[in-house]
Assembly symmetry: C2
């Protein structure tokens, strides 16, 4: 992989089932086109506040459609998907720890993102508690659970997620997943094919 | 085409650029799978009222994304697309006349849907006025403009669109375009590939 080629940036919220599905597909797409991948968790709550919108499942018709569609889409891609008992997922600790782990080891972001997403949408675990998030981090990355737990209280770690979330919104991200390549934004699992066409043709 | 095979139902709002794009693509998909196509205009205003949502372009981030994305998607499919000067489009007369014309001649629905959509998103015309809608109807279908104009004041014609709109919402339609096949709903231009896969495999 040429690390000179511009990255595919993958914006996601850990509470998003569509984000989980895309997280299982995006690495192969980036690899096929020799692009590095950057994992960018952010907080959808901030986007909803700026947009004046509500969670998908709060809209009566869109909510019903989405619950059906998420499962249909997971089957389409042959991915396991369970509906978490606690929804929306409290994702702040998980998102903070992805940036923290990536700063220690760039390769950790992928492993940790998959670990959190699969905990939620495959194992049906609640990742809200700091201890749970720290344990998942330690298992996935080899970093110390105690260090991860301490990081969650670190003002710099907290500020980092706020900065990343603001940066995502300033760039125009308002949902999960969002992919950015060469300044172009693509929203949704159902745009992965178009994103790949963009990578192939360099735009149109 | 076997008219025994269940139809693909195409739900759309004449104010929707994504509906216009899908209207140019859906007939070939239905034809490839020997399915009749039924054109089902409805009023998005009713869906937004039931959902408690607002027009796409009223959301600051989603609105900006959509304006860019609609043009990008039209280029992707090599379709002309201009942004109408008057937006949202007042689509009530156009929608009423599609049902009215189809009742006179089932083949007229396709011709008239294309005529209205292309008037708005290719020629940039305002189709709000009853006279304009009636003239477009006459040109596209061969029905009399005076009869179309009279139909717009007919309580049965008015009631028909209300019934169709309520039926769409009751079925779960909340956006444009929406495709329904074998009881499965697919929302958006970006689901045409999945719809076609569903037609091919009969579901999954």
């Amino acid at each position: 992989m040429s690390h000179e080629s511009p990255a595919v940036e993958f914006y996601f919220e850990f509470s998003s089932p569509y984000g989980y599905i895309a997280s299982e597909l995006i690495e192969n797409i980036a690899r096929r086109h020799d692009r590095p991948l950057i994992w960018k968790p952010f907080l959808m709550g901030a986007a909803m506040k700026r947009e004046g919108s509500r969670p998908l499942v709060d809209y009566p018709l869109k909510g019903a459609y989405s619950r059906h569609d998420m499962l249909r889409m997971a089957r389409y891609y042959e991915l396991p998907l369970v509906w978490p008992e606690t929804f929306p997922v409290f994702s702040v600790h998980a998102a903070r720890l992805v940036y923290w782990a990536a700063d220690h080891d760039p390769a950790a972001a992928s492993r940790l993102t998959h670990a959190f997403y699969r905990a939620v949408f495959v194992a049906g675990e609640d990742i809200a508690a700091p201890e749970v998030a720290a344990t998942i981090t330690a298992k996935a990355t080899g970093l110390e659970a105690a260090a991860a737990l301490a990081a969650l209280k670190n003002p710099d770690v907290k500020a980092r997620l706020r900065t990343e979330t603001d940066g995502a919104l300033d760039r125009g991200v308002f949902g999960s997943p969002f992919m950015c390549v060469d300044g172009e934004l693509f929203w949704g699992v159902d745009r992965l094919a178009m994103l790949e066409e963009w990578l192939r043709r360099g735009g149109w």
